[in-house]
Structure formats: C-alpha cells, structure tokens
Symmetry: C2
Subunit: 285 residues, 2 copies
C-alpha cells in the first residue's frame, strides 16, 4: 500500500499508472506534478489525480513514492528541483524507456544517487500520448523491467515491484546496461525503421499514390511511426551507443539482402525469409 503517491509528468504512462493504482485501491492519495496548470487540471477532471502541484519540491514532501514520468530529457532538471526535498524514507522511481541515461540524469540532478532510487521501465505504450490517452488497463499483463542499482535498498525495490504488480504488470529485474541493449534491439530499432520508411516514402514524388495503395500490412508495419516524436528524439539522444550498434548490425544485413537480390540468388533469399518466418512464428503468435 502507498499512502501518498506523487507522479511527476501526468501523461500517458504516469496517468495510466495513477489510474490503475487508484482503481485497485493500492494508494490513498495521488498528487500530480507538471509544468503546465491546464494539463494538470485536465488530469484532475479526468479523475487521474486527487490534486496537483506546479512546485515539485512542495509536492513530494510527505510522499512515500515518487514516480518520474516526464520525457527522459526532462529528468535532470526535474531532479534538480527536487534537491533536498525528498523525505528520507521516500522511494524514487521512474518509467523512462532508457535506463543508463536516466540513472545519470538523476545523479546529476540530485547531486547523488539515493539508495531508495529504483529505475524502472514498463514495456507498454500506445501511439497516442498525453493524459487523455491514459487508461487503467495499460499495464494489465504487460512486463515491467526494474534495473536496481548496486548498493540500492532491496526493500525499495520490493515496494516498486509491489506497485507495478498492483497495476497488473509482470515485473522482472535486469542490469541497466543490458536493458538498454535489449531495448535497442526490440523497440528502438523497429521504431527507427518505421520512422525512416515513412519519412523516406514521403519524399518520393508519387507519395500520394504510394500511400493510397498501402494495404493492411503497411498500416500495421508503420503504426509505430505515429509515436511521439519528442519521446523518440530523447530515446535516440540517450541510448546512442546501443542504438548505433543495432543500426550497424541491421545495415549490414540489409546490404547482404540487397546483394542477394542483385545476384538473383533465390536460395539465399529463401533461407533469409524462412529463418525470419520461423523465428517470428515461434515467438509471436
């Protein structure tokens, strides 16, 4: 149970967590913090938070759980405004899509890494963002990855795990660097391919026609190119190494495919496509 939960950044991810925890009765009070009064008022009107604050430092006093749910690029400045404000027993966590850079940002912002800071990343999302897109069901059955830091407080880690389980999620632990590599492969690379494809096609002369003949497969394939550009800029800026590695790995394989097409090497093409189909059919149903 959480007595006072503070969500800093009440958008899709933070708002959905607040809704899920309120609905399950897992926390007594939810306070929303933001930089913009009108969006906080909408959050309150939608029943996502009990009350709201523009002053993060004032808001976190007396809180037992503080969740950083702004874009990753805002975390350092938010943490700077929290210097000296957190109660000693307060647990600090986040929802950022990258973990190494968030740990650095918290350290830089607060001037230290609190033992009760537990980095976390819910593997759930939608293309729409903002508090209007928040739903209590977003995390139902979805994975949340915790990346506890060496020397961190195990009890804080258990509390963050309990919070996500109350929101319906399945929680697992991973090392920070490993998280960033796995997510670069499984999430960041696909998003970058979808964005590049649509932007690439949009520069062709026949773009109107091209999109007119796009069938269902194309819609599904490019759905993630409708994701929030600010969030994805931040992810690229903050997970540079692993993303560049994956782009290189993919680029090499795409070049190999091009060579097989150029050479008319049907056997090679068939074996690439078969391997991909087998892998996907095995992992996704």
């Amino acid at each position: 149970m959480i007595n006072r939960l503070v969500i800093i950044g009440v958008g899709l991810v933070g708002g959905s967590l607040a809704l899920a925890l309120r609905q399950s009765g897992y926390c007594r009070e939810v306070i929303g913090v933001g930089r913009d009064r009108s969006s906080l008022q909408r959050a309150q009107a939608l029943g996502v938070v009990d009350r709201s604050e523009l002053d993060a430092c004032a808001a976190v006093r007396g809180a037992d759980m503080v969740v950083l749910a702004t874009p990753v690029g805002a975390i350092e400045s938010v943490c700077r405004s929290l210097r000296g404000c957190l109660d000693e027993k307060a647990i600090l966590t986040d929802v950022g899509s990258v973990k190494g850079a968030v740990v650095e940002a918290v350290q830089a912002g607060l001037g230290m890494l609190p033992a009760r800071f537990v980095p976390a990343h819910p593997i759930a999302g939608r293309e729409r963002s903002g508090v209007e897109a928040a739903t209590a069901e977003l995390y139902q059955g979805r994975r949340v990855i915790l990346t506890p830091l060496p020397g961190g407080d195990p009890e804080a880690c258990e509390s963050v795990r309990g919070m996500w389980e109350a929101a319906g999620a399945v929680v697992e632990n991973m090392a920070v660097g490993h998280h960033d590599e796995v997510l670069a492969a499984t999430s960041h690379l696909p998003h970058l391919l979808a964005y590049t494809l649509v932007s690439s096609l949009s520069r062709l002369d026949e773009q109107e026609e091209i999109f007119r003949y796009a069938a269902g497969g194309f819609r599904d394939f490019t759905r993630i190119a409708s994701s929030d550009p600010v969030m994805w800029r931040d992810i690229c800026l903050h997970n540079k190494g692993p993303i560049l590695d994956m782009l290189k790995h993919f680029g090499r394989d795409l070049a190999t495919l091009g060579e097989a097409i150029d050479a008319g090497d049907g056997d090679r093409l068939l074996s690439i496509f078969q391997r991909a189909k087998q892998t996907r059919d095995r992992f996704c149903d």
Copy 2:
C-alpha cells in the same frame, strides 16, 4: 457473368477469388487446376471449386475466364503447358504481386501475348497461405490494380474489372512499370525490412530474451515477416530494379538518421520523426 472459370493455383488468392465469385453467383462453374491432387481435393472438399484437373490444357478448353494464381515463378511453365489450348474468346488474367515479370513470363510461356490477356494484382493478402486460408471476404473493399497492355482488348479488360467488382473489390488501372515501382515502395520494401529485422535479431546471442521483451508494437511491426518465403523470394527475383532502387533510397535515409544520432542532433531527429508521424497520421487512421 462467367460461364466457366478456371483457376490455376488454388491457394489463398485464387481460392478466395473462387469463393467470392461462387458466393455472389457471378460464375456458373469453377474448375481448379494444380500440380498436386491432394491439395485440389481439399479445395473441392472445402467448396472452393466445383471440380479439379491436373492437366491445365484440358481444363481451360471451353473456359471463358482463366486466372493464373500460382507463385510468380511458376507462371512461365504453366503458360507453356497452355500453348494452343486457350479458346480464342477466352480471357486470360493473373494475380501476381509483380507485373512486368509476369507479362514477360506469359509471353515466354505462350510464345505470344494474347490480346485478351489482362494482368491484374489484388492488393489484399494474409500471412497464411494455401487454400485453407482462403475466404470469400478477402477482397471486400480492397483495391485491385489492372495493368492493361497497349493494344490489348478493352472488352477483356472490362470483363476482368467486372469479375473483381463482383468479388467486392475496387478496381483501378495503372501502367505495368508504374505498378512495379509503387508496389516496391509500399509493399516490397516494408516486407524486406520486416524480414531483415527478424532475421537480424535472430542471430544475436540474446535472441530468446529479445523476443521475450517484444511488446505489441513489435508484433505489429513484424507481422509481415510471417508471410510466405517462396512468394517473397519470387517477388525479389522478379522486381529487382525497383526493389534495389527503393533499398538504396531507404539505406541512404537510414544512414542519415544514424549520423544525426551519432552527432546528437536533436533538432534533425525531431524533424524526421515529426515528418513521418504527420505523413502517417494523414494517410492511415
């Protein structure tokens, strides 16, 4: 109305056309042709065709409409077996995903291009293939592109249009070469990206883990990598030029993105992502 329809290759695409036309009462009799007796028997048992034949030449006698619905790579040999067999008034059409190569294959196989040959491509499909995956609804509201040849018989073209409209489709005309360029962009390139991504990830050491953390976005993004490898090998072999052009165009844009990430150029990244999101939101809902 069609009196006797012959479908050569009673799989997903040919079988779905047969089902739709039988259901709408648009044709009196459907004959299925294939190379394998057992799959033809399944087609008959499923009510997709009235009767079936292994001998294509015998099957097409007396037919007023003959549809080539095998993989593209089989069209030339199928047409060779049809030399001298088609009635003078018979209309010949196909469903191949590429058009330039099909026209060449028909010409090579028959030794000439009949005036009543109308190349066609239904923009509809599924990841599953074979006659078991066929449904009468596959073409409902979907586009079919006809690529009539210079000097072709306009009446034959109208008949093929009428057939697809009876199956529920919206029919449009396009030049052969233009079809192959548009489809390279809108369908072939996305499939190759999806196949390459999955095959690329499947070669990483952490592949088990990677696919375990793949969320909904990844499933949608890679769905088309579950498509039929033989069909996609044939498409690559038979639409080489336009596909290689698109791969080059995309490869350059992906390299530019990599450079922006490497340089930490947030403004450039944001503008690429915004352009893509705007384009996709405009064309797909």
